[in-house]
Amino acid sequence: MPTKTYLEAIRDGIREEMQRDERVMILGEDVGAKGGVFGVTDGLQKEFGEWRVLDSPLAESCIVGVAIGAALNGMRPIAEIQFQDFILPAVDQIVSEAAKFRYRSNNDWNVPMVVRAPFGGGVHGALYHSQSIEAIFCHIPGLRVVVPSTPYDAKGMIVAALRDPDPVMYFEHKRAYRAVKGEVPDGEYTVPLDRAAVVREGADIAVFTYGMMVHTVLNAAERLVPDGFECEVVDLRALRPLDHDAIVASARKCGKVLIVQEANLAVSVSSEVAAIIAQDCFEHLDAPVMRLGGPEIPAMPFSPPLEQFYLVTPDKVETSLRELAAY
């Protein structure tokens, strides 16, 4: 199997699906000649033309609202938001509209649309190019929210998202684009949009995480091996709906739980995972359900010492794991 970057895997998935299905189109800022600010759509306008890879005006509500309309009229649009931070002007179109079409029409209408956006920090992106605000969408019934962490999943999930009949929020960690490489099959395959993956097996501590943090956690997990602790690492992948059964299974198996995310903790994915475990694994727990995430500050600052202070690092994860191990 060829080895690809996370970014290449996303692009391959999009390109192949565009070749297979002429309804698939991309709408967003700078997606055309520039190929997006990170290069995800590089070359696609040349291959598929100006309409199918359309440079939108600088207006996020327009990008999503137009994508909704196109989806209603037979297209399979990708609405690309340049940075997750800038998705907020489109929140009304996503939450009030896309998420509610099927429900409010009693199944008469649906919106097969994918909203893609890069999130996460550690790239000197400062307050507005580093955010992880997926929690907002994870609260909203009617949406799917997914975050792949590997090139394999990135391709399989973008294809699955493009075939899903409902709106899918597909968030990409921008630090993973070039830093994360892995094997990616040529040709067609999908990865389900509602299943977590156990990416490391263990019986001592269950760690739930997603996105770039999967790699951070895997790194930290290895550091405990010499001391005889085996972590089970669960890549949530599907943030809405969450894979309830997988979460409960790993938490029960290990009895100790750490939840790790880059976003700040309050009212976030980590909160929901902890709540599920507190309700459904009570009799299996051997320790407090611990969480590790960004501090409760508005966003990741620019200056290197501040950015570093914000980030969840393997060291910080290791510290939490050791605390749990010792409990």
């Binding site: 189109m25 309409w51 199918r52 939108s56 005006p57 207006a59 509500s61 327009c62 999503v64 609202g65 137009v66 994508a67 909704i68 309309g69 196109a70 989806a71 209603l72 009229n73 037979g74 297209m75 649009p77 002007p89 009304d92 179109q93 009030s96 509209e97 509610k100 079409f101 099927r102 429900y103 409010r104 029409s105 009693n106 199944n107 008469d108 209408w109 649906n110 019934p141 009617g142 799917r144 899903d164 009949p165 409902d166």
Partner: protein
């Protein structure tokens, strides 16, 4: 713009059949609307929001659209429009009574939140202004496939203050999409008068920002509305790009059944507006023109009331949704539910 507003008196090119249909559609909408108010006042329908005074422009556009081919992203006052396109009084009665068979939403939404896939009427929510972008998107898809369908979308003048208004007109104009934007300007957004909503008297002025035609039409004049509808839809269909139509209409009722406009509008003004009602004036015009003869209008009314009575009975007899059905259709269900 190219579309001239010709003399609004006289038949002006509209044949008698068209004029009778125009009147009949308007009357049908009005009668249903009155019925829905009555049901509300009797405590049988918890809510109603009316199209009274807006019928002429709604019906005129409805008659010039191709149902199920063209795209329609309406707003809550467009009762008349949906009827012309093929929805029925019973459909809306089921909706107002929140019955399971309400085709708009299965009783999930408030009445006047229209939607019908078969007729390409895009399901509407309550947030004002969002639908304009959906119309632009539908038109984009049509353009990409080389179809000559038109996307119609409407809103009040209040809605034109939302950012989505700008974003939709801008996008449609950039790509010369076949979107007909209609603003039904009744001078009020609930209680807020137009001059707190916009700095110029005409929403149509905004067309200039996008280099597209802006047309003002007297929305109480059905014949003028018909011609503007016919010409603007034809123009959009021929590929000349979007157009913004502003119909100056009357809101003959309070904003909704929850509102009482006497709190913020004077009794004299409200009285005076009744005299300008499109429906009664149009009847007089058509009788003067000989398009309707003496008993015609009353006969039409009687026949429509009959339809309405039957529809009301059927709707009232229809079942409410099952409580647990509230859980269905969040996402596509594997089991087809």
């Amino acid at each position: 713009m190219a579309i001239s507003e010709t003399d609004t008196r006289g038949q002006a090119g509209l044949d008698a059949e068209t004029l009778r249909a125009l009147y009949r559609h308007m009357l049908r909408s009005r009668l249903l609307d009155e019925r829905l108010w009555a049901l509300n006042r009797q405590g049988r329908a918890p809510f109603w929001i009316s199209g009274m005074g807006h019928e002429a422009v709604q019906v005129a556009f409805g008659m010039n659209l191709r149902p199920g081919y063209d795209w329609v992203a309406p707003y809550y006052r467009d009762l008349g429009l949906t009827l012309v396109l093929g929805m029925t009084p019973k459909d809306h009665l089921l909706s107002a009574l929140a019955r399971a068979d309400d085709p708009n939403s299965g009783g999930r939404q408030m009445p006047a939140h229209y939607g019908c896939h078969r007729l390409n009427i895009i399901t509407t929510g309550s947030p004002v202004g969002t639908q304009l972008l959906h119309a632009a998107g539908a038109a984009l898809a049509a353009r990409m496939r080389g179809e000559d369908s038109v996307a119609f979308t409407s809103m009040g003048e209040g809605g034109s203050s939302e950012g989505d208004f700008h974003e939709a007109l801008n996008f449609a104009a950039i790509h010369k999409l076949a979107v007909v934007f209609v603003v039904e300007n009744n001078g009020f957004a609930i209680s807020v008068p137009w001059d707190k909503q916009m700095p110029t008297p005409d929403v149509a002025d905004r067309a200039q920002a996008y280099g597209i035609p802006g047309v003002v039409v007297d929305g109480e004049d059905p014949m003028a509305c018909f011609r503007v509808a016919r010409d603007t839809i034809a123009r959009a269909r021929s590929g000349e790009g979007p157009v913004l139509v502003e119909a100056k209409v009357l809101r003959l009722t309070s904003h909704s059944s929850d509102d009482d406009q006497r709190r913020y509008r004077s009794a004299e003004v409200l009285e005076a507006e009744k005299l300008r009602d499109c429906l009664s004036r149009f009847r007089v015009t058509l009788e003067e023109l000989g398009v309707l003869s003496a008993g015609d209008a009353d006969e039409m009314r009687a026949e429509l009331v009959l339809e309405l009575d039957r529809a009301t009975d059927e709707a009232e007899a229809a079942a409410l949704p099952e409580p647990e059905s509230a859980l269905r259709h969040v996402l596509a269900d594997g089991d087809g539910t």
